[in-house]
Symmetry: C2
Subunit: 139 residues, 2 copies
Amino acid sequence: MIISHNLKMYVQKLRSSNLRPTKQRLKICQFLFDRKKTFHFTVEALNKKINKNVATKVSLATIYNTVEAFTNAGYLKEILTSKNKSYYDTNIKSHHHFYDEGSKELTDIHYSQIKLSRVPVPPKGKKIKNLEVVIRIQK
Amino acid sequence: MIISHNLKMYVQKLRSSNLRPTKQRLKICQFLFDRKKTFHFTVEALNKKINKNVATKVSLATIYNTVEAFTNAGYLKEILTSKNKSYYDTNIKSHHHFYDEGSKELTDIHYSQIKLSRVPVPPKGKKIKNLEVVIRIQK
DNA sequence: TTCTAGTTTAGAATTATTATAAACTAAGTA
DNA sequence: TACTTAGTTTATAATAATTCTAAACTAGAA
Ligand SMILES: [Mn+2]
Ligand SMILES: [Mn+2]
Ligand SMILES: [Zn+2]
Ligand SMILES: [Zn+2]
């Protein structure tokens, strides 16, 4: 068994967000963040991957709780693009996506790859919270 | 009871899409399309409004069936922006939206109000199906 | 070691949506 | 007009994603 170099970092990270570094949360941290590329996922998919070929499973409720906690703590970003299912993204920087309607997969588009040269003013009293573009693609 | 000027038009419209002009479909057509401004709605909201203070209700299943049929026929556009709930739009032209996270309401942004001066090329073998921007706003 | 607030868990509940199948009806034909 | 039937409506069941509940467990402070 390979111990993540980053384990201590995750412990600190969790503590700094007032989240106890439990076995389950650390396992999910390692799975989500011990990687170089952005990871996009649904809770269903994460649950399958986390619990594939393991002796002690993390419960689905904990996967949901943890993804929500990590999103609130700013470790993950929620992407609303699909009917009836939330996607999450380990890339928390502001950026855009391709959403493939066939494979139902998200791909990053770097923020600088889309130039919005004209953006409307929001209604009175309202502020823009988020301006990230999802480009739907298909074969 | 005021008879919609457009009733005959709706009958034709439905027939041209191979949809029988039933009482229920015509009632829903009048409710959705006898108006000047774009109407954005969820099925839940439409169901409430259609069945408010009426003797004979349209069943929820029919509301779902009809909204799906109208979307397939191109009378409505589906807007995926909210968690776990689909929105529909009587404005079928390509256009953008503000989505108010507080009131959970959509507002149109005319297509010309957002200028995308740089758009990335889709992955090989994939085509852009849709490029409509949702700007999330809040107080 | 003890204590407790925070966490995990199985399972129930909820919400949005889709499927099922019986009753009904639009509309073509005799 | 009556007959016929494919299409439609409807109540209800089923499904899928998510959230809630409450009991058991545990991290970490004292
Ligand atoms: Mn759903
Ligand atoms: Mn849901
Ligand atoms: Zn991303
Ligand atoms: Zn609109």
